[in-house]
């Protein structure tokens, strides 16, 4: 127990010397495995999702290596089909969906709120273990020969292939519950544990985005659960929901699946946008521009995201009327995203911009998400989607959004909160080099895929026509450059764990609450609920060269 938020002396360097923080509070492996501390659960999630990311990344490199030339390079068609299924399923279900909310969100959300923990700590641990169990099932399917359906599990292929579909689908089903419980926990936490003075419109925007995300998680994920259960029943018991041979309808599966999986796209991107608002404001050292528009746009995305699933099915044979409605609704969801991008730019205007690694990731995000979002216009418009659907254009588009958007923001957030989480600074120069490698490698890998898609290269092809070879080769080389970037990134982050400079409480000059407690935070974050001001009032912090970080000018009184 400390009184760090109640007296000015506690933000002096001496505070950081205190022995007791959440990492040292208790020791022993069991104190981690059965911990109820949201910070430790966040770290457990972080380790797990980074492992999943590593696996998914290895599969990606294998795919790109196979595609370096037409014909068979390093694997046969069946192996290729299994590897792209694993790459997609692992990246989506084990990395991107839990990535920001469950790992970074778990750690930061309660501290940002000035709370001691989430509302239901035991539920939080439960959802972590559901994640682990789901992941075990998903990975078990590899040992059983791996599924070859693609991460979408489209029927009737998924009900007729002889591969281990049920295991991986069961894994995704269990992971769904993990996601629902995390969402539920966050909603209740944000509603009930805000400290006095933190009205809805004094909440940091990252919390708004997590709130919007949580709503989607709670409302949409059950539909995926039911759909996957129907799929399992059809495969194991032969009840015909989707297989026309049994009287079912294969297109019905696509409706069910995308009713979850399109909103899930916003589960992936909304928290990333939340991180962006924090990063752009912090490193422009200026108040966020248009707070309310950004907050409301998070909610708008969460709601409109439910109404656009049919745009995945423009060529499925669904009626022209439905295609028209879904096309129109799809464009509506582009507006809130556009608003956010313009507001971030306006935040930089007349700021005092510094270019530390997290800000480089934020700038990369604006560039890459800009391309990802704008190329969505080609896919929302009916006439052009017919040509581009199921080609590499779509592959490039969603990698620009999911990787160029979510993953880049995740990396920005990881670097931003790393000092808070670990209590150590990483090597800034290496951070910038890695960011540059990833940025260059990413564009080489995926921009070429837009061109491939326009030329008609279909996705999920183990073999291809020779005319596509040069672009595929550039793409593969780009993926190797990216891989080097990630290895560099992993190396200096691990190095910082042991040799990193001790982190000050507020290394970047942010004004949100998590920077008011020590780095790393003590076990119970705040001894008393802190009173809250404007989370983006950057005039409240000043740089103190003595401690190499920022200090708050005003101390909130409890």
């Amino acid at each position: 127990m400390i009184a760090s938020t109640t007296s000015p002396s506690t933000i002096s360097p001496a505070t950081n010397e205190r022995a007791d923080n959440y990492l040292t509070h208790k020791t022993g492996i069991l104190s981690w495995l059965v911990t109820l501390d949201h910070k430790r659960i966040g770290v457990l999630y972080l380790i797990s999702i980074l492992f999943a990311f590593f696996l998914g990344g290895v599969f990606a490199i294998l795919l790109r290596t196979e595609l370096i030339g037409p014909g068979q390079t390093i694997m046969d068609n069946d192996t290729y089909n299994k590897i792209f299924t694993l790459h997609g399923a692992i990246m989506i279900f084990l990395f991107i969906i839990p990535g920001i909310p469950a790992a970074l969100g778990n750690f930061i959300l309660p501290i940002m709120l000035g709370a001691k923990d989430v509302a239901f700590p035991r539920l939080n641990l439960t959802s972590y273990y559901l994640y682990v169990i789901g992941a075990i099932f998903a990975l078990l399917s590899i040992l059983l020969g791996a599924a070859d359906t693609g991460w979408t599990f489209y029927t009737p292929y998924s009900t007729s292939t002889s591969t281990s579909v049920v295991t991986i689908v069961l894994g995704a089903f269990i992971l769904g519950f993990s996601s629902i419980l995390t969402g539920l926990n966050f909603i209740v936490t944000i509603h009930t544990l805000r400290p006095p003075g933190m009205t809805w419109f004094r909440m940091p925007l990252f919390l708004w985005s997590l709130y919007g995300t949580a709503i989607i998680q709670v409302l949409a994920t059950p539909v995926l659960g039911i759909t996957l259960l129907l799929l399992i029943i059809e495969r194991t018991l032969g009840v015909g929901f989707f297989d026309p041979g049994l009287g079912g309808d294969p297109v019905l599966y696509q409706h069910f699946f995308w009713f979850y999986s399109h909103p899930a796209v916003y589960i992936m991107i909304l928290p990333a946008m939340g991180i962006m608002s924090e990063l752009v404001s912090t490193f422009s050292h200026k108040h966020i521009f248009g707070y309310k528009f950004i907050a409301y746009s998070s909610l708008a995305i969460a709601i409109l995201g439910f109404l656009v699933w049919g745009h995945h099915m423009f060529t499925s044979g669904q009626s022209s009327l439905m295609n028209m409605i879904f096309s129109l609704l799809t464009f509506s969801v582009s507006i809130p995203s556009a608003i956010k991008v313009f507001n971030w730019l306006a935040t930089m205007y007349k700021g005092s911009i510094t270019l530390e690694t997290p800000m480089l990731y934020a700038l990369s995000f604006i560039f890459l998400f800009g391309i990802g979002g704008l190329t969505g216009l080609f896919l929302g418009a009916l006439a052009t989607d017919v040509h581009l659907h199921d080609t590499y254009f779509v592959v490039a588009h969603f990698h620009y959004v999911m990787f160029g958007g979510t993953l880049i923001a995740f990396l920005g957030g990881l670097h931003y909160w790393w000092p808070k989480m670990i209590g150590k600074m990483y090597n800034e120069t290496m951070g910038k080099i890695a960011c540059l490698l990833i940025f260059v490698g990413f564009n080489a890998t995926f921009f070429t895929q837009f061109l491939l898609g326009m030329q008609g290269m279909p996705r999920r092809y183990a073999n291809y026509h020779e005319m596509y070879t040069p672009l595929h080769q550039i793409s593969t080389i780009g993926s190797y450059v990216m891989a080097v970037g990630f290895v560099v990134c992993a190396a200096y982050l691990i190095h910082s764990l042991f040799r990193g400079r001790k982190a000050p409480a507020n290394p970047w000059g942010s004004a949100t609450l998590e920077w008011r407690c020590a780095s790393p935070p003590p076990h119970d974050n705040f001894s008393a609920p802190p009173t809250v001001g404007d989370p983006y009032d950057m005039s409240d912090v000043r740089f103190d060269p003595q401690i190499g970080g920022y200090v708050f000018k005003t101390q909130p009184t409890p």
Partner: protein
């Protein structure tokens, strides 16, 4: 699979009309392609404008407002209703325009003219079969130039998707229902036709050609094609029948397993039957196996083959036998 790769090699070695396209898009070989490309160019223009705007502003702000020692940032408003409404409303108008262009062009791509020539398309793992009004079945899509063609698609197994980049058309072939699409080819030539919906092992080899015939030549091709039994050598006609009449689904030609025995080295060999006896695989044995499959069940296989009695003509059976003879190793 070898067979499919062989076809891919053939495609690679053929100079396709496909390659006449621009850097951005394939050639505009159908009447609607130019309209689709116009929508594409419009969206491209809008996107390029906004992307350049965003990135330019970003770079200017980074340079102009980079932190300088001892310089306090100037005051700037925290929000501006007028500004924010502007960048909400202008994009809204633009995307509604994009929607409208995309939709009207799409409707022209959906509604086939009444007089369209109809071809039935069947997707199956892993080939396309095109059935013409006179009953001819072909592995490639042959069409006349300048005539609207309507394709009626279905699938016998999983979902496939017919995709002709040069025509800008794509439509799923769904088992248990019919879907349709149409096009009118503008230029004679050969174009690639892909399967765009993932369908398993040889998805990427489920490739065919669209052959657009010059004026007056389609009818001639049709006549020869439908009459191939009389114009082709029997073994060559047999190859064709093997592919399009369903033999290939169960009987391999390279010795690998399947639902039925391989055709490789079959002719002239002694075949062990399920009932313990042995029979020589001569012309009569093969004829019987096609027309009355339950008569001689080969050891190690299930009696699952449907009869072709009444489905294959005598000349066709002969052609298949001649084809199987060519699969002997010398």
């Amino acid at each position: 699979m070898n067979d499919a790769n062989g076809f891919m090699n053939y495609l690679n070695n053929t100079v396709l009309a496909q390659e006449r396209g621009s850097f951005w898009l394939p050639p505009q070989a159908s009447t609607t392609a130019a309209d689709v490309d116009w929508v594409f160019q419009f969206i491209f223009g809008v996107s390029a404008f906004f992307f350049i705007l965003i990135v330019t502003l970003m770079i200017i702000f980074i340079i102009r407002f980079k932190r300088r020692e001892g310089v306090e940032p100037g005051a700037a408003p925290h929000h501006s209703m007028a500004l924010e409404l502007t960048w909400s409303i202008i994009p809204t108008i633009i995307v509604v325009l994009i929607f409208a262009f995309g939709f009207t062009t799409y409707m022209n791509m959906r509604i086939a003219p009444d007089n369209a020539y109809e071809i039935n398309v069947t997707g199956q793992k892993w080939k396309w079969l095109f059935t013409y009004p006179n009953g001819h079945v072909d592995e490639n899509l042959h069409v006349p130039v300048d005539i609207p063609v309507r394709l009626i698609l279905t699938s016998v197994d999983v979902i496939h998707s017919l995709f002709v980049p040069a025509f800008r058309i794509k439509m799923d072939a769904v088992p248990g229902r019919y879907t349709d699409t149409w096009f009118q080819a503008k230029d004679p030539g050969e174009y690639l036709l892909f399967c765009a919906e993932y369908c398993g092992t040889s998805h990427s080899d489920m490739t065919s050609m669209v052959v657009v015939h010059k004026v007056g030549e389609f009818e001639k091709w049709m006549q020869d094609a439908a009459n191939f039994l009389n114009t082709m050598p029997p073994a060559e006609a047999g190859t064709r029948l093997y592919k399009i009449r369903g033999c290939a689904q169960c009987h391999s030609i390279d010795g690998t397993g399947g639902h039925g025995p391989t055709f490789k080295n079959l002719f002239g060999r002694d075949v062990a039957l399920k009932n313990g006896s042995t029979v020589a695989a001569d012309e009569n044995y093969i004829r019987t196996s096609i027309l009355d499959p339950m008569a001689d069940i080969v050891a190690g296989f299930e009696p699952v083959m449907p009869t072709y009695q009444g489905k294959l003509k005598a000349e066709e059976v002969t052609a298949i036998i001649e084809y199987i003879k060519t699969l002997r190793e010398e």
